[in-house]
């Protein structure tokens, strides 16, 4: 029997979700909406009678106080006038996380149900047309990629049954294929293999006197994918005639090798980079991107982005406990006019809201504080938003090493396997029209954080009980890459038909390569299998023994006793031909604008504070739980009203200890338009100066690189990437900060009718620093009237790529140039001064320059500033006021010092450029003078209001 239960908010109470839907429709241009109601719909299939259904509705689904419900008829939402109804349901095959919980609730009541589907119904009243409603509602209230909208009443129906998969051996004829056919095959099957790679595969199987099976071909394609082996970074690059053999090894990884820090415990080899924390524990950090999935389905893409990166520390060593998340996004501006958004792109505001909700819902449910991040806006991210998600974990020092041994069993723990993420969006429309229940869901992965939370809880217990010898996560490439990696040195044999599925009908290669979320693979000594399975069962976590690690260095896969793959591990992991590419970089011909001097720059300060990249991100930050686990020592929002922009976050990961980690990030894609080398250098400087600003030091500071780039088949794009990677080496080796992990996402280009939108080459640098005592931290808000203010670091004629230019639609040519030797001297001196207790507040100077830094310190502290900038250290010829105020020269800080400590502070900074500039006042005015003119004079509360208004949705 199928029961349809509708639950709505009792009209006596605020229907917050209904009101939000009205707001979203109005935002999208639907006028004259008078009211909206939100209805949750549960369709329950099972041996239940009417009384049972009524009981489920009243005791489980509807709140006795705040809800009303009805069974098998529409709930009366008490709207008068003409109604417009839309019901949004998940498309067949899209995972519905609410189903399992509802089934459990029903079972706890002593009843039994077979299946539950949920949908969202919205009812509106108002004076608009059906046509207008249907056009707007579908795009605003649903995502057509994973959901379908019904405007007519929905008749509940049983789920389509799926026929089970019947085994058929599929071989792919490579032996007789010519080059054109090989390329066509790679394209048709979505393998992303080039001709040299197809040749290598053909030759390998020719030597074995047979053709590959579909499973073998898919396995090789996954293992050789750009995502898994970084073919570009590890390939051979002809850069303006100079041959670079492995860009990664010659830049980023070289820093780490040359610095050879004893506290780098495991770098560039495991799922995240590991450094020593306190001698007994290690901390590890990984940052990933999930750009394309977030462009297609922002919510699900971001959810599975954060869900995926959490499994990296969990899959590092024998498993680390996740203790902090970071997130950095690049979007097109939320107010980008609709006519400028290319066909096929979601509106930028929609992308932003979806991504933020995805990170919020997954991160918060995992119980991991999201503590640090940044958002950068540029119209070129319209088709390729960048979604970087990071996770920090902690683990005992003696759990860092792992090795699966021959004879260990292959056990998959966590979620079930479905068609999630197979080949992105390459499923053909023919397949979509066959009416099968599950053909969908390929392109988009839907996360279920509670499945992952349960899995984390159980894995950490199993780790401490020593129930397995190695662990890794199922990420890109799914089981194929997880088992392939763990068995790379020994060999593995897996029974594909033993892998638990979400639904029937999957072919063996789909099971093997599925990117279904929330799964980990462990290698388990046979005598420990029962204990592991019992432990998992004790907390309702699914675990299945699916095979065995061997010693014959082969990967063998079976499906119901049929051997469907038999490949040498050697070929799988080392058989990929190296990529050879050409790269060239020519400096663009740019000119520095000549602007007339002004007597007052207060308007410019307001304009820069209101640019979305600079503006307050409070709307985003507050939606994340940044305090769960009880270790938040410096929060993302600081100051007298808890709303100032903190430079970095500090977390103490162990309860009862004040030892902490500082997390920060640097990103500035616009500088790439002038020179990607300086873009990268500035990103490193920014991440590190934020560590210094909160009272940290460069000692035991590690950094991570995440490159997001355009199509590197094109020499100019690759040339830019080479320059950026070289800056990574040149800077980090001087700062003494090793890279411990990194990742790249290439091909971020979007085809429109009128051409290609290419993202600016973007490097995110994430930094992690160990701090001995979090109670010594410093925040950026001004503290006390009468205290002295100093500018530290050298200001130069460097407005190129600045926020001031950007708000005036200018780029400029004078990109900020980092002098890492000078920067390190400044960082070390300031760090010592802070450690000696001489610094009351400190803010790094970044987007918007000195003017923005001082303004943020003032309004975060609720205090005024009276300062003159004439004495600030400058380089080159004298600068005009515009450059003094807004130049974005790196390695600079503004520091507040108590009057009694100025002598000691100045002594501590001897040898590095700094100047006294003025005082903190008890008033509410920010007054900046230069060359005897008052160049800025503003009310700090008005400045703050402008800064807060832009992204307050």
């Amino acid at each position: 029997m199928i029961w349809r239960i509708e639950v709505a908010t009792n009209p006596a109470f605020t229907d917050a979700a209904g009101l939000a839907a009205v707001e979203d429709l109005a935002d999208a241009g639907l006028e004259n909406i008078s009211a909206g109601r939100f209805v949750r719909v549960f369709t329950i299939d099972g041996p239940l009678n009417a009384a049972d259904a009524e009981r489920i509705a009243s005791d489980l689904l509807a709140d006795p106080v705040s809800d009303i419900f009805s069974v098998n008829k529409p709930v009366d939402v008490a709207l008068t006038g003409s109604h417009f109804t839309v019901e949004v349901a998940k498309r067949p095959g899209v995972m519905d996380p609410v189903e399992a919980s509802t089934l459990k609730g029903v079972s706890d009541m002593g009843l039994a149900a077979d299946a539950v589907a949920t949908s969202r119904k919205y009812v509106f009243s108002g004076a608009f047309s059906h046509v207008a409603f249907e056009r707007v509602a579908a795009s605003v209230l649903s995502n057509e990629v994973i959901e379908e909208c019904h405007f007519a009443p929905v008749v509940p129906s049983a789920r389509a049954t799926i026929s089970p998969y019947k085994f058929a051996r599929v071989e792919v004829d490579l032996a007789s294929a010519g080059d054109d056919e090989l390329l066509a095959l790679s394209k048709d099957k979505g393998l992303s293999l080039n001709l040299a790679e197809m040749h290598a595969i053909r030759d390998y199987f020719a030597a074995a006197r047979r053709n590959p099976t579909d499973v073998e071909l898919e396995t090789i394609a996954q293992t050789w994918s750009e995502h898994c082996v970084h073919k570009t970074f590890r390939g051979i690059i002809d850069y303006n005639g100079e041959i670079i053999d492995n860009l990664l090894a010659s830049t980023v990884a070289r820093v780490t090798k040359e610095l050879n820090r004893p506290w780098c415990v495991s770098v560039f080899k495991d799922n995240s980079g590991v450094i020593d924390f306190d001698g007994k524990n290690c901390v590890c950090f990984k940052v990933e991107t999930h750009n394309h999935p977030s462009a297609v389905e922002p919510y699900g893409g971001a959810e599975t982005g954060i869900g995926g990166v959490i499994r990296d520390p969990l899959g590092t060593g024998l498993g680390a406990k996740p203790v902090a998340n970071t997130d950095v996004f690049c979007f097109a501006p939320p107010d980008m006019p609709a006519e400028k958004v290319p066909h096929g792109c979601l509106p930028p505001k929609r992308v932003m809201k979806g991504v933020v909700s995805g990170v919020r819902d997954y991160g918060n449910r995992m119980g991991i504080p999201t503590v640090n991040g940044a958002i950068v806006f540029d119209e070129r991210f319209v088709g390729n938003p960048l979604v970087y998600c990071g996770n920090v974990g902690i683990m005992p020092r003696d759990k860092v090493e792992k090795a699966a041994l021959p004879g260990d069993l292959v056990v998959v723990i966590g979620g079930r396997t479905g068609r999630d993420g197979i080949h992105g969006a390459t499923l053909s429309s023919a397949e979509l029209e066959t009416g099968s229940d599950v053909v969908w869901s390929g392109a988009v992965q839907i996360g279920n954080p509670i499945t992952e939370k349960k899995m984390v809880d159980i894995i950490l217990q199993a780790r401490d009980l020593g129930l397995y010898t190695a662990i890794t996560d199922c990420g890109a490439g799914g089981l194929s890459s997880a088992v392939g990696e763990m068995g790379a040195e020994i060999g593995a044999e897996v029974r594909l038909d033993k892998i638990p599925l979400k639904y029937q009908g999957l072919a063996p290669w789909e099971i093997w390569c599925s990117e279904a979320q929330e799964r980990m693979v462990v290698s388990v000594p046979p005598e420990k299998l029962d204990d592991l399975l019992a432990l998992c069962a004790s907390e309702n976590v699914e675990a299945t023994d699916i095979g065995v690690f061997t010693d014959d260095k082969r990967l063998r896969l079976f499906f119901e006793d049929h051997l469907v793959a038999d490949i040498e591990m050697n070929f799988l992991h080392d058989g990929v031909p190296r990529l050879e590419r050409k790269a060239a970089w020519m400096p663009p011909s740019l000119v520095e604008p000549v602007l007339a001097p002004k007597s007052d720059y207060t308007d410019d300060l307001f304009a820069v504070l209101s640019s979305p990249t600079v503006a307050s991100k409070e709307w985003v930050i507050r939606q994340y739980d940044h305090e769960v686990q009880g270790g938040s020592a410096v929060k993302p929002l600081v100051g007298v009203d808890n709303d100032g922009p903190s430079d970095a976050a500090i977390v103490a990961p162990l309860r009862g200890s004040n030892r902490g980690i500082i997390l920060s990030c640097g990103i500035n894609p616009r500088y790439s338009d002038i020179d990607p080398y300086h873009m990268a250098a500035n990103a490193i400087d920014e991440a590190l100066r934020q560590i210094i600003a909160v009272g940290g030091s460069l000692e035991r500071t590690a950094i991570l690189d995440n490159f997001c780039w355009g199509n590197t088949d094109k020499p100019d794009r690759l040339g830019g990437l080479v320059r950026a990677a070289r800056a990574c080496y040149d800077m980090a080796v001087v700062y003494g900060t090793p890279f411990i992990s990194g990742k790249d996402s290439l091909n971020n280009e979007f085809q429109t009718d009128s051409g290609t939108v290419v993202i600016p080459g973007t490097l995110l640098i994430s930094a992690m620093s160990v701090m001995a005592d979090v109670s010594k931290a410093i925040t950026m808000d001004l503290k006390t009237p009468g205290n002295r203010l100093y500018a530290v670091g050298t200001t130069k004629d460097e407005l190129g790529g600045s926020e001031l230019y950007a708000v005036n639609s200018l780029l400029g040519a004078n990109v900020p140039i980092v002098d890492p030797l000078a920067a390190k001297a400044i960082f070390d001196a300031l760090s010592s001064a802070a450690a000696a207790g001489l610094v009351r507040s400190c803010h790094d100077v970044s987007d918007g320059g000195l003017a923005v830094a001082i303004a943020e310190m003032a309004f975060a502290g609720g205090l005024g500033v009276d300062a003159a900038l004439d004495a600030i250290p400058v380089k080159g010829k004298p600068l005009d006021a515009r450059k003094v105020l807004f130049s974005q020269s790196p390695s600079r800080f503004v520091v507040e010092v108590e009057s009694a400590k100025t002598k000691d502070f100045e002594a501590a900074l001897a040898g590095v450029p700094f100047a006294f500039i003025g005082s903190v006042t008890s008033g509410d005015r920010l007054t900046l003078n230069y060359e005897h003119e008052q160049v800025i004079d503003a009310d700090i509360f008005k400045l703050k209001a402008a800064w807060k208004a832009v992204l307050a949705f």
């Binding site: 605020t14 709140d63 006795p64 106080v65 609410v98 706890d108 349960k454 305090e627 686990q629 929002l637």
Partner: protein, 255 residues
Amino acid sequence: MSEVNILVLRAAGTNCDVETAYAFEKAGAKATLAHVNRLVDRSVSLDDFQGLAIPGGFTYGDDVSAGRILAGELKNRLADAIAAFVEADRLVIGICNGFQVLVKMGLLPGDESSGRVTLTNNDSNRYEDRWVHLKVDGGRTPFLASDDVIYLPVAHGEGKFVVDDDATLESLESNGRIVLRYCDENGLDAPFPYNPNGSVGSVAGICSASGRVFGLMPHPERNIETWHHPRWTRGGSPAQGDGLRFFTNAVKYFS
């Protein structure tokens, strides 16, 4: 003083268990983490504990509504054990998701005569993490002794306290059972963001008629160290956060 044993309950999606246990330990208790399955399979017994804490999190994903599935599980599978525990001279605290569980299983308000309450979507219709001032009506529950204004963070999407009718609020009020209310710095009633979710009567926490069952949306376990305070770098923060008293008072109750 004999050891005070506190059971910190976990279920799928609980996520404030470790810091809640730590807060009890810091207050001098012995805290034991146990999965709800261990209570259901009787390998752990409530009889061995003086206190039960249901910590924050998203049990079962907060699917259906916050805390509802765990509430159903406790009510349907552990009714007798919990009824006996509440009857005896024991303490129960539900924090955030734990408060939602206590309300949805009917342990709060807990007596038919005081009417029905629930916790529903914030007026903002979104999850928010922010610090709030709370006016304490102390003495009614052992967890809070004195009347003052304290400062704790909230972090939730479904924390708006509502009642079935005005009489319920009046009854709770007149019996001193509204032990925490959102307020401004001076302890006065104030709108959003002071009242972060639109709670009726600015209610942030209530206790049972006995006072021994207590639920609150704010997180006392997130303000126990000096450096938990969002403005500790400005100076003048207390050496111990305002949240620690909830746990020390609970321990004192048994000594």
